[in-house]
């Protein structure tokens, strides 16, 4: 009753003073428990626009003074409760009581995540992809979902193999951490996509630098943290089912997540996903043999209390991916023929069948975790994980070998880590950790094709420490240090001619074991000392801006592909050679992030520079002739690289006011609620990468990109959203000239010297997408209808390895039904 009187008063006041422009308005109220209305002490009220946090007192009351009239977003949290977000318009002094649902039971979760530009308590440049966005990608890949982030693009092989590129770097320069477990799935390969089901993620955080030291210091490009849904401590069963179908590929995905939580602390989580797609269509033809089939399961069993807990998790991911038939070629003549014809050399009728060439990948992960909290100190967490990754690649073979894998590699990785968090001090948080990794790589010797990557055994032991210090309300300072010792011991057969041609018989005679026929068995062993250091500062200005600068320096040891590659690469008709004398890479990166939240506008600008000494890259070194014809030879070399760029993103929301009675909400008894009418989101990224020794551009640098999205909320009817977006990708004008000349017989038998143009970049393109989404049944059910590549635009993507053979995919109409329970 008291509340009603207050509301009446507030109404009265707001009517009297609607024109007040002085910044002396006060918002006050009480924070109470939803269940028993008990006042909650020490609840945190974070005001997004002020970037300030207020705390409730012993009787649950709070007071936010000195407010200017305007729309504010509050994010209210309490260590026992779920975060609640509230938007209000303040035109006069106002009282607002807020009820919080009381069932989350972990201090770590009390991070006020108010917008995508978190983490507010860190200086690193990071962006979060929320659950709603992830769910719209239920039928796509992890890489597709990640490319919504400014500064993240994708390196593709067709449309099913999608690798994330962070600030121009990919592969072993980007760490993917799936639920605390560093993914080890042969990520050194350009055609190897992360073996993770995007549907297991509840949120994804992209850290654009080497500052996530807990998970390794060698991620000089960035770290991608995939986080599952939070554990809640009350008796409840929740989850969702998503069904998705698409016209391009004529298939779809079904996925479901079920979470069972008990008040006692026990919980079970399960996510199951199945996806089946046939051949994709380019605007003018079928992309033959580009179908895929994926099945994934994630199961978790755990016990979670505030003081202690443990969990056991198992994840499984199995996929079969067809590789565009026309991209499997025999030699440079075939490549020239394909580039000149501008059309795939093989176009068959649509099919759901997957033929060779194809990949079959299986990934299993087992994770054990236990933690204990110590009063007045912090938390200690012990993790053990085992990952098994099997990759098979099938080529077009003849005779008895048809249907046999050309590559069949088992990779087993075990990890043990101990992590300590000391959070007893009010202004300073310490983190320390040690970990040990053992990895065994065993290629199958019955493939009848010489091993691309040899047998090896690798060990890594590391330790890190980091500190975050908040000296005042306006400053955040953090720093960290990590050291890893990495040793790799391989057994590799070289062709004797290759071993000698590369001069290894002189340089590494100690590795030679014995000669067998025209091959030589060698035992290369290398060790690396890897250091990483990061430091940063963030200043929160009083007037809605914050500025952060983060410096990180890190070492990365060369990966097995860079050391040991040796042989013919069928998609590009190149011979790729590793290099045994590679040193570690050293990166120095400075990230600056300016973030502002001014009224309806939220923006972030992130310029960065990354100087990498001894950057490992493939460079052409000559031409070799075989019975198959001529091939260019590429070898890994080290150069000094200079990368710099800028990411910029902004969101502008147009709001309208609605009375709470109109909105049928009674929760907070607001005089007015602010309702989003139209949101406009834009992001732009540009990167400039150069070999600073020779001043030649780096290969495969993402071209400048500009994405825009307009959302009309509650269009025509309530809960119907209309979306229109476009993606403008500019032509990459900076690329190294790796073209080569080769003699190719023409139809008259004359050997014609032809230039093989593998360097030129595709034209710029602009793709439009449109969609409708309608939510009903208390917003628990949602239907999304989306048209991607609305105008069936014909284009080729510089970062798609199949651009030499075929156009990219054409129009795709997708229907998605989402049900939350």
């Amino acid at each position: 009753m008291f509340t009603k009187q207050l509301v009446a008063m507030a109404l009265f006041i707001s009517f009297c003073y609607t024109n007040a422009q002085d910044c002396d308005l006060v918002l006050k109220g009480k924070i109470v428990d939803f269940h028993d209305s008990q006042p909650l002490e020490l609840a945190q009220i974070y005001v997004v626009q002020l970037q300030k946090t207020y705390t409730s007192t012993g009787d649950g009351s709070y007071l936010i003074p000195d407010l200017c009239p305007g729309i504010y977003e509050l994010s209210v949290s309490h260590f026992d409760c779920e975060i609640k977000k509230v938007s209000i318009e303040i035109v006069a002094n106002k009282t607002l009581n807020i009820a919080l649902e009381h069932h989350v039971n972990d201090l770590e979760q009390v991070k006020v995540i108010a917008d995508v530009h978190d983490n507010h308590a860190s200086t690193q440049s990071s962006t979060r992809i929320n659950k709603e966005t992830i769910q719209t990608y239920s039928g796509a890949t992890l890489g597709d979902a990640l490319s919504t982030v400014a500064g993240v693009s994708s390196l593709k092989t067709g449309n099913s193999v999608v690798k994330p590129i962070v600030h121009g770097l990919y592969g072993s320069r980007v760490a993917i951490v799936n639920d605390g477990l560093r993914q080890q799935d042969q990520e050194w390969g350009i055609e190897h996509a992360p073996n993770i089901d995007v549907n297991t993620a509840s949120s994804i955080q992209v850290i654009k630098g080497a500052s996530a030291l807990r998970y390794g210091g060698d991620a000089i490009g960035g770290t991608i943290l995939i986080e599952p849904s939070r554990i809640i401590s009350k008796d409840t069963l929740n989850g969702h089912v998503i069904l998705q179908g698409q016209t391009n590929g004529r298939g779809g995905t079904a996925t479901t997540t079920v979470n069972n939580y008990r008040q006692s602390g026990w919980y079970q989580q399960a996510t199951l996903t199945y996806k089946k797609l046939g051949d994709y269509d380019a605007p003018n033809y079928v992309l033959s043999n580009t179908g895929s089939e994926t099945a994934a399961a994630n199961l978790a069993l755990g016990f979670k209390k505030f003081e202690y807990g443990a969990s056991l998790k198992y994840s499984f991911y199995n996929t079969e991916i067809g590789i565009l038939r026309a991209s499997h070629i025999g030699n440079a003549s075939d490549l020239v023929r394909s580039i000149n014809s501008g059309e795939p050399t093989v176009i068959n009728d649509f099919t759901h069948d997957i033929d060779v060439p194809k990949q079959e990948v299986a990934h299993h992960g087992i994770q054990l975790n236990a933690y204990k909290r110590f009063t007045g100190l912090g938390k200690l967490s012990l993790d053990y994980s085992f990952q098994f990754n099997n990759r098979k690649e099938f080529d077009i073979r003849r005779g008895d070998n048809a249907g046999r894998a050309s590559l069949d590699i088992d990779l087993q990785t075990q990890n043990v880590s101990l992590y300590g968090l000391i959070d007893r001090f009010e202004k300073t948080t310490y983190e320390v950790g040690i970990n040990y990794m053992n990895q065994v790589n065993s290629p199958d010797s019955s493939t009848g094709v010489r091993r691309l990557i040899p047998d090896y055994n690798a060990n890594k032991a590391g330790a890190f420490a980091s500190v975050t210090h908040l000296p005042s309300e306006n400053w955040i300072l953090d720093a960290g240090l990590r050291y890893d010792y990495y040793k790799i011991d391989a057994d590799k057969f070289y062709l004797q001619s290759r071993w000698e041609d590369l001069g290894y018989d002189q340089q590494f005679p100690e590795f030679e074991v014995n000669e067998q026929g025209n091959q030589i068995l060698t035992n290369p062993q290398f060790d690396y000392n890897l250091f990483a250091f990061t430091a940063g500062a963030k200043y929160l200005f009083d007037d809605h801006y914050d500025l952060a600068i983060n410096l990180s320096t890190a070492n990365r040891a060369p990966n097995p592909s860079e050391l040991f590659s040796d042989g013919l690469h069928h998609a590009l008709a190149t011979i790729e050679l590793g290099r045994l004398d590679l040193k570690k890479e050293q990166s120095f990166k400075i990230n600056t992030t300016l973030h502002g939240n001014v009224g309806k506008l939220d923006f972030e600008i992130n310029p960065y520079i990354n100087l990498i000494n001894d950057y490992v890259q493939l460079v052409p070194t000559g031409l070799e002739t075989t019975t198959r014809g001529a091939f260019p030879v590429y070898q890994y070399e080290q150069i000094d690289a200079r990368l710099y760029g800028i990411d910029a993103s902004a969101t502008y929301d147009f709001w309208i006011k609605k009375r709470s009675t109109e909105m049928n909400t009674t929760s907070n008894e607001l005089v007015y609620n602010a309702v989003k009418l139209i949101s406009f989101n834009t992001n732009f990224s540009y990167i400039h990468g150069t070999d600073s020794n020779s001043d030649v551009p780096l290969i495969d640098m993402p071209p400048a990109q500009w994405q825009n999205q307009l959302t009309w909320h509650d269009a025509l009817v309530k809960n119907l959203d209309f979306k229109l977006s476009n993606q403008l990708v500019f032509q990459q004008n900076r690329f190294p000239d790796n073209n080569y000349e080769v003699s190719i017989p023409n139809d008259q038998g004359e050997l014609i010297t032809s230039t093989v143009d593998i360097s030129s970049t595709p034209d710029s393109y602009n793709l439009w997408n449109a969609g409708l989404s309608y939510a009903f049944a208390k917003a628990n059910t949602k239907i999304n209808l989306t048209v991607n590549n609305l105008f069936n635009t014909k284009y080729r993507n510089y970062l798609n390895r199949q651009r030499f053979y075929a156009d990219d995919v054409g129009r795709d109409i997708q229907l998605q039904i989402l049900y939350n329970f």
């Binding site: 087992i366 091939f631 017989p745």
Partner: protein, 183 residues
């Protein structure tokens, strides 16, 4: 609860220990590698007139280039029976890959393209669909001259085709150019 976790941990560790692989590393010899291409031309009118065009690349994808040797002479205005052989001589005993090509004749075709317009080359063998294969040929020579003879083996070409390299498509498994002298 602690017990169950210990058991699970033990099971996991055991399962891991059992998968580890300490086998000796065995050598892999490339099974489908074609190291050697031999084209043998026998004069229909004189069985002692045999020309052999041979290209040997013993290290396959290795750095050494193929070694080409040509023995015997091709006479002008004569008809020759041609036979091509594809061998893998990197393994012992060597493997005759021509047999696989003949077994999968519908997925293969050998192309002979000569710059000498006076030389006409006919494929006399066919696959199960009646399309040319090209392991067995007839070479009809004309006037004296020197040119280039390209021997190209295509895997999964378009069949039938117009007997040109550009029209046939497929993947090149062999592409060798011989100096072709008609004396």
């Amino acid at each position: 609860m602690k017990n169950s976790i210990q058991i699970l941990a033990a099971v996991a560790l055991l399962s891991i220990a059992s998968c580890s692989d300490d086998d000796d590393v065995t050598i892999i010899n490339e099974e489908e590698l074609i190291t050697t291409v031999e084209l043998e031309l026998t004069n229909q009118a004189d069985a002692t007139n045999v020309a052999l065009f041979k290209s040997v690349d013993s290290d396959g994808d290795g750095p050494n280039a193929p070694v080409i040797t040509i023995t015997g002479a091709v006479n002008a205005n004569a008809t020759y029976d041609g036979t091509v052989r594809f061998l893998n001589e990197s393994i012992a005993p060597s493997e005759n890959i021509t047999e696989e090509v003949i077994e999968e004749a519908d997925e293969h075709e050998v192309f002979y393209i000569s710059t000498l317009s006076d030389v006409s080359i006919a494929k006399i063998d066919v696959d199960s669909n009646g399309n040319p294969l090209g392991v067995q040929t007839t070479f009809q020579t004309g006037a004296i001259g020197t040119g280039v003879l390209n021997v190209v083996l295509r895997h999964e070409p378009t069949k039938p085709n117009d007997n040109t390299l550009s029209g046939a498509g497929g993947e090149s498994d062999v592409e060798v150019a011989f100096t072709f002298e008609v004396e």
